[in-house]
Assembly symmetry: C2
Homo-oligomer: 168 residues x 2
Protein backbone atom coordinates (compact mmCIF):
# COMPACT_ATOMS: atom_id res chain seq x y z
CA UNK A 1 0.00 0.00 0.00
CA UNK A 2 1.12 3.54 -0.81
CA UNK A 3 1.78 6.05 1.94
CA UNK A 4 -0.85 8.51 0.74
CA UNK A 5 -3.56 5.85 0.69
CA UNK A 6 -2.43 4.46 4.01
CA UNK A 7 -2.67 7.89 5.63
CA UNK A 8 -6.23 8.33 4.46
CA UNK A 9 -7.14 4.88 5.68
CA UNK A 10 -5.59 5.50 9.06
CA UNK A 11 -7.44 8.79 9.48
CA UNK A 12 -10.69 7.15 8.50
CA UNK A 13 -10.20 4.21 10.86
CA UNK A 14 -9.23 6.40 13.80
CA UNK A 15 -12.26 8.58 13.11
CA UNK A 16 -14.57 5.59 13.12
CA UNK A 17 -13.08 4.23 16.32
CA UNK A 18 -13.44 7.63 17.94
CA UNK A 19 -17.11 7.88 17.05
CA UNK A 20 -17.70 4.44 18.54
CA UNK A 21 -16.11 5.70 21.74
CA UNK A 22 -18.09 8.87 22.14
CA UNK A 23 -15.46 11.13 20.63
CA UNK A 24 -16.64 13.00 17.63
CA UNK A 25 -15.39 11.80 14.29
CA UNK A 26 -13.70 15.01 13.27
CA UNK A 27 -11.88 15.29 16.55
CA UNK A 28 -10.49 11.79 16.17
CA UNK A 29 -9.52 12.51 12.57
CA UNK A 30 -7.64 15.66 13.46
CA UNK A 31 -5.89 13.70 16.15
CA UNK A 32 -5.01 10.98 13.65
CA UNK A 33 -3.68 13.53 11.20
CA UNK A 34 -1.42 15.06 13.83
CA UNK A 35 -0.33 11.65 15.08
CA UNK A 36 1.14 10.73 11.73
CA UNK A 37 2.54 14.13 10.97
CA UNK A 38 6.22 14.61 11.77
CA UNK A 39 5.79 18.37 11.91
CA UNK A 40 3.34 20.55 13.78
CA UNK A 41 0.55 21.81 11.47
CA UNK A 42 -1.36 25.07 11.21
CA UNK A 43 -5.14 25.41 11.33
CA UNK A 44 -5.04 26.13 7.58
CA UNK A 45 -3.20 22.92 6.85
CA UNK A 46 -5.59 20.89 8.95
CA UNK A 47 -8.64 22.48 7.30
CA UNK A 48 -7.15 21.71 3.94
CA UNK A 49 -6.11 18.14 4.71
CA UNK A 50 -9.49 17.13 6.12
CA UNK A 51 -11.76 19.50 4.16
CA UNK A 52 -13.31 21.04 7.22
CA UNK A 53 -14.30 24.61 7.94
CA UNK A 54 -12.30 27.08 9.96
CA UNK A 55 -14.86 27.11 12.76
CA UNK A 56 -14.89 23.36 13.01
CA UNK A 57 -11.11 23.16 12.98
CA UNK A 58 -10.83 25.77 15.69
CA UNK A 59 -13.34 24.10 18.01
CA UNK A 60 -11.95 20.65 17.41
CA UNK A 61 -8.41 21.78 18.16
CA UNK A 62 -9.58 23.45 21.32
CA UNK A 63 -11.30 20.25 22.42
CA UNK A 64 -8.21 18.17 21.70
CA UNK A 65 -6.18 20.53 23.82
CA UNK A 66 -8.81 20.15 26.54
CA UNK A 67 -8.34 16.39 26.38
CA UNK A 68 -4.60 16.89 26.73
CA UNK A 69 -3.93 15.14 23.44
CA UNK A 70 -2.36 17.97 21.45
CA UNK A 71 -0.49 21.17 22.15
CA UNK A 72 0.00 24.56 20.61
CA UNK A 73 3.42 25.45 19.35
CA UNK A 74 4.80 28.80 18.30
CA UNK A 75 7.53 29.21 15.76
CA UNK A 76 9.97 32.09 16.16
CA UNK A 77 9.06 35.09 14.06
CA UNK A 78 5.69 33.72 13.01
CA UNK A 79 2.21 34.80 13.94
CA UNK A 80 0.58 31.48 13.14
CA UNK A 81 -0.15 28.82 15.73
CA UNK A 82 1.03 25.30 15.10
CA UNK A 83 -0.43 22.17 16.62
CA UNK A 84 1.25 18.90 17.37
CA UNK A 85 0.21 15.65 19.00
CA UNK A 86 2.00 13.70 21.66
CA UNK A 87 2.94 10.50 19.81
CA UNK A 88 3.48 8.33 22.87
CA UNK A 89 0.61 5.85 22.98
CA UNK A 90 1.08 5.25 26.67
CA UNK A 91 0.63 8.95 27.33
CA UNK A 92 -2.36 9.02 25.01
CA UNK A 93 -3.97 6.08 26.82
CA UNK A 94 -3.40 7.62 30.21
CA UNK A 95 -4.71 10.97 29.10
CA UNK A 96 -7.90 9.46 27.71
CA UNK A 97 -8.34 7.27 30.78
CA UNK A 98 -7.85 10.27 33.03
CA UNK A 99 -10.38 12.42 31.22
CA UNK A 100 -13.02 9.74 30.94
CA UNK A 101 -12.60 8.87 34.59
CA UNK A 102 -13.18 12.49 35.49
CA UNK A 103 -15.98 13.17 33.02
CA UNK A 104 -17.91 9.92 33.24
CA UNK A 105 -16.94 7.57 36.00
CA UNK A 106 -16.82 10.09 38.82
CA UNK A 107 -20.30 11.53 38.20
CA UNK A 108 -21.68 7.98 38.10
CA UNK A 109 -20.00 7.11 41.37
CA UNK A 110 -21.56 10.15 42.93
CA UNK A 111 -25.06 9.10 41.82
CA UNK A 112 -24.52 5.51 42.93
CA UNK A 113 -23.55 6.76 46.33
CA UNK A 114 -26.70 8.79 46.64
CA UNK A 115 -28.74 5.84 45.46
CA UNK A 116 -27.33 3.58 48.11
CA UNK A 117 -29.00 5.76 50.74
CA UNK A 118 -32.41 4.64 49.52
CA UNK A 119 -34.74 3.54 52.30
CA UNK A 120 -37.52 0.99 52.11
CA UNK A 121 -39.00 -2.28 53.16
CA UNK A 122 -36.42 -5.07 53.32
CA UNK A 123 -39.18 -7.58 52.61
CA UNK A 124 -40.15 -5.92 49.33
CA UNK A 125 -38.58 -7.73 46.34
CA UNK A 126 -38.56 -4.46 44.39
CA UNK A 127 -36.52 -2.86 47.10
CA UNK A 128 -34.19 -5.81 47.56
CA UNK A 129 -33.47 -6.13 43.86
CA UNK A 130 -32.84 -2.42 43.52
CA UNK A 131 -30.45 -2.34 46.44
CA UNK A 132 -28.56 -5.41 45.29
CA UNK A 133 -28.08 -4.14 41.74
CA UNK A 134 -27.02 -0.68 42.83
CA UNK A 135 -24.64 -2.08 45.38
CA UNK A 136 -23.07 -4.53 42.92
CA UNK A 137 -22.63 -1.85 40.29
CA UNK A 138 -21.20 0.44 42.91
CA UNK A 139 -18.59 -2.15 43.87
CA UNK A 140 -17.69 -2.65 40.23
CA UNK A 141 -17.40 1.07 39.62
CA UNK A 142 -15.21 1.53 42.68
CA UNK A 143 -12.98 -1.25 41.48
CA UNK A 144 -12.68 0.28 38.03
CA UNK A 145 -11.99 3.66 39.58
CA UNK A 146 -9.21 2.34 41.78
CA UNK A 147 -7.73 0.42 38.91
CA UNK A 148 -7.63 3.51 36.73
CA UNK A 149 -6.19 5.50 39.57
CA UNK A 150 -3.34 3.04 39.87
CA UNK A 151 -2.90 2.93 36.12
CA UNK A 152 -2.52 6.69 36.01
CA UNK A 153 0.33 6.47 38.46
CA UNK A 154 1.94 3.45 36.86
CA UNK A 155 5.05 3.55 34.78
CA UNK A 156 5.01 2.99 31.08
CA UNK A 157 7.08 -0.11 31.55
CA UNK A 158 4.24 -1.73 33.41
CA UNK A 159 1.94 -1.41 30.51
CA UNK A 160 4.17 -2.89 27.87
CA UNK A 161 5.75 -5.44 30.09
CA UNK A 162 3.39 -7.09 32.45
CA UNK A 163 -0.22 -6.50 31.70
CA UNK A 164 -0.65 -10.12 30.73
CA UNK A 165 0.68 -11.44 33.98
CA UNK A 166 -2.41 -10.13 35.67
CA UNK A 167 -4.41 -13.08 34.64
CA UNK A 168 -2.04 -15.67 35.98
Amino acid sequence: MELAAAKLKFIEAWGKLGSEWGINRTMAQVHALLLISPEALTTEEIMEALSISRGNANMTLRDLIGWGLIEKQHKAGERKEYFFADKDVWNISRQVAKERKKRELEPVLKVLNELSTVVGDEKDPEFKTFKKSVSDINKLALNVDKTLETMLKAEESWFWGSILKVFK
Copy 2:
Protein backbone atom coordinates in the same frame (compact mmCIF):
# COMPACT_ATOMS: atom_id res chain seq x y z
CA MET B 1 -34.38 8.85 49.22
CA GLU B 2 -37.57 7.04 48.27
CA LEU B 3 -37.46 3.90 46.16
CA ALA B 4 -39.56 5.36 43.34
CA ALA B 5 -37.30 8.41 43.01
CA ALA B 6 -34.21 6.28 43.29
CA LYS B 7 -35.38 4.04 40.45
CA LEU B 8 -35.90 6.99 38.16
CA LYS B 9 -32.52 8.38 39.05
CA PHE B 10 -30.84 5.06 38.41
CA ILE B 11 -32.50 4.68 35.02
CA GLU B 12 -31.50 8.20 34.08
CA ALA B 13 -27.89 7.75 35.20
CA TRP B 14 -27.50 4.43 33.42
CA GLY B 15 -28.98 5.99 30.28
CA LYS B 16 -26.51 8.85 30.40
CA LEU B 17 -23.59 6.54 30.95
CA GLY B 18 -24.72 4.39 28.05
CA SER B 19 -24.91 7.33 25.68
CA GLU B 20 -21.38 8.34 26.66
CA TRP B 21 -20.26 4.85 25.77
CA GLY B 22 -21.82 4.61 22.35
CA ILE B 23 -24.89 2.70 23.50
CA ASN B 24 -28.10 4.46 22.79
CA ARG B 25 -29.83 6.06 25.71
CA THR B 26 -33.07 4.13 25.44
CA MET B 27 -31.24 0.84 25.23
CA ALA B 28 -29.34 1.60 28.42
CA GLN B 29 -32.54 2.73 30.13
CA VAL B 30 -34.41 -0.44 29.26
CA HIS B 31 -31.44 -2.38 30.54
CA ALA B 32 -31.48 -0.36 33.77
CA LEU B 33 -35.20 -0.94 34.20
CA LEU B 34 -34.78 -4.70 33.85
CA LEU B 35 -31.73 -4.72 36.10
CA ILE B 36 -33.70 -3.38 39.02
CA SER B 37 -36.82 -5.36 38.32
CA PRO B 38 -37.20 -8.57 40.33
CA GLU B 39 -39.62 -9.97 37.74
CA ALA B 40 -39.38 -10.29 33.99
CA LEU B 41 -41.40 -7.57 32.23
CA THR B 42 -43.52 -7.51 29.09
CA THR B 43 -43.05 -5.13 26.19
CA GLU B 44 -46.19 -3.31 27.34
CA GLU B 45 -44.81 -2.79 30.81
CA ILE B 46 -41.52 -1.47 29.46
CA MET B 47 -43.28 0.90 27.04
CA GLU B 48 -45.37 2.16 29.91
CA ALA B 49 -42.53 2.54 32.41
CA LEU B 50 -40.28 4.49 30.05
CA SER B 51 -42.92 6.17 27.86
CA ILE B 52 -41.58 4.80 24.63
CA SER B 53 -43.37 3.49 21.56
CA ARG B 54 -43.97 -0.12 20.73
CA GLY B 55 -41.58 -0.01 17.78
CA ASN B 56 -38.83 1.51 19.83
CA ALA B 57 -39.33 -0.99 22.62
CA ASN B 58 -39.25 -3.89 20.22
CA MET B 59 -36.04 -2.80 18.48
CA THR B 60 -34.33 -1.92 21.71
CA LEU B 61 -35.18 -5.28 23.27
CA ARG B 62 -33.90 -7.04 20.19
CA ASP B 63 -30.62 -5.10 20.38
CA LEU B 64 -30.22 -5.92 24.06
CA ILE B 65 -30.70 -9.58 23.25
CA GLY B 66 -28.07 -9.18 20.52
CA TRP B 67 -25.67 -7.81 23.13
CA GLY B 68 -26.40 -10.81 25.32
CA LEU B 69 -27.64 -8.60 28.14
CA ILE B 70 -31.24 -9.73 28.41
CA GLU B 71 -33.26 -12.81 27.55
CA LYS B 72 -36.77 -13.69 26.55
CA GLN B 73 -38.83 -15.70 28.96
CA HIS B 74 -42.11 -17.48 28.40
CA LYS B 75 -44.63 -18.06 31.11
CA ALA B 76 -46.72 -21.21 30.97
CA GLY B 77 -50.13 -20.67 29.46
CA GLU B 78 -49.35 -17.13 28.30
CA ARG B 79 -48.87 -15.75 24.82
CA LYS B 80 -46.88 -12.74 25.93
CA GLU B 81 -43.12 -12.58 25.93
CA TYR B 82 -41.36 -11.52 29.08
CA PHE B 83 -37.87 -10.05 29.25
CA PHE B 84 -35.38 -10.24 32.05
CA ALA B 85 -31.80 -9.08 32.54
CA ASP B 86 -28.89 -11.03 33.87
CA LYS B 87 -28.15 -9.25 37.14
CA ASP B 88 -24.59 -10.47 37.57
CA VAL B 89 -22.31 -7.50 36.97
CA TRP B 90 -19.40 -9.73 36.16
CA ASN B 91 -21.40 -11.38 33.39
CA ILE B 92 -22.57 -7.99 32.18
CA SER B 93 -19.01 -6.69 32.04
CA ARG B 94 -17.78 -9.72 30.18
CA GLN B 95 -20.64 -9.60 27.74
CA VAL B 96 -20.04 -5.95 26.95
CA ALA B 97 -16.30 -6.50 26.66
CA LYS B 98 -16.86 -9.44 24.36
CA GLU B 99 -19.21 -7.55 22.05
CA ARG B 100 -17.11 -4.42 21.87
CA LYS B 101 -14.00 -6.48 21.19
CA LYS B 102 -15.76 -8.14 18.30
CA ARG B 103 -17.51 -5.06 16.93
CA GLU B 104 -14.77 -2.46 17.38
CA LEU B 105 -11.37 -3.74 18.33
CA GLU B 106 -11.14 -6.55 15.81
CA PRO B 107 -11.98 -4.39 12.77
CA VAL B 108 -9.37 -1.87 13.90
CA LEU B 109 -6.75 -4.59 14.29
CA LYS B 110 -7.49 -5.70 10.77
CA VAL B 111 -6.96 -2.19 9.38
CA LEU B 112 -3.78 -1.69 11.41
CA ASN B 113 -2.42 -4.88 9.99
CA GLU B 114 -3.07 -3.75 6.45
CA LEU B 115 -1.53 -0.39 7.22
CA SER B 116 1.66 -1.96 8.47
CA THR B 117 2.29 -3.27 4.95
CA VAL B 118 2.80 0.29 3.69
CA VAL B 119 5.90 0.73 1.57
CA GLY B 120 8.01 3.85 1.20
CA ASP B 121 11.27 5.67 1.65
CA GLU B 122 12.84 4.98 5.02
CA LYS B 123 14.54 8.38 4.86
CA ASP B 124 11.25 10.24 4.52
CA PRO B 125 10.12 11.67 7.88
CA GLU B 126 6.49 11.42 6.76
CA PHE B 127 6.97 7.74 6.18
CA LYS B 128 8.91 7.12 9.34
CA THR B 129 6.41 8.92 11.54
CA PHE B 130 3.51 7.11 9.96
CA LYS B 131 5.10 3.73 10.42
CA LYS B 132 6.09 4.39 13.99
CA SER B 133 2.65 5.60 15.03
CA VAL B 134 0.84 2.75 13.32
CA SER B 135 3.20 0.21 14.78
CA ASP B 136 2.90 1.59 18.31
CA ILE B 137 -0.88 1.69 18.11
CA ASN B 138 -0.86 -1.80 16.73
CA LYS B 139 1.15 -3.05 19.69
CA LEU B 140 -1.22 -1.36 22.09
CA ALA B 141 -4.26 -2.78 20.34
CA LEU B 142 -2.80 -6.28 20.39
CA ASN B 143 -2.11 -5.92 24.07
CA VAL B 144 -5.64 -4.78 24.77
CA ASP B 145 -7.00 -7.59 22.65
CA LYS B 146 -5.02 -10.25 24.48
CA THR B 147 -5.96 -8.76 27.81
CA LEU B 148 -9.63 -8.87 26.95
CA GLU B 149 -9.24 -12.39 25.65
CA THR B 150 -7.83 -13.47 28.98
CA MET B 151 -10.45 -11.54 30.88
CA LEU B 152 -13.20 -13.34 28.99
CA LYS B 153 -11.81 -16.64 30.14
CA ALA B 154 -11.11 -15.52 33.68
CA GLU B 155 -13.18 -16.47 36.66
CA GLU B 156 -15.40 -14.06 38.44
CA SER B 157 -13.28 -14.44 41.52
CA TRP B 158 -10.39 -12.86 39.73
CA PHE B 159 -12.28 -9.72 39.10
CA TRP B 160 -13.51 -9.09 42.59
CA GLY B 161 -10.46 -10.38 44.29
CA SER B 162 -7.29 -9.43 42.62
CA ILE B 163 -7.61 -6.73 40.04
CA LEU B 164 -5.69 -4.36 42.26
CA LYS B 165 -2.73 -6.61 42.59
CA VAL B 166 -1.96 -6.00 38.95
CA PHE B 167 -0.21 -2.81 39.66
CA LYS B 168 2.43 -4.10 42.02
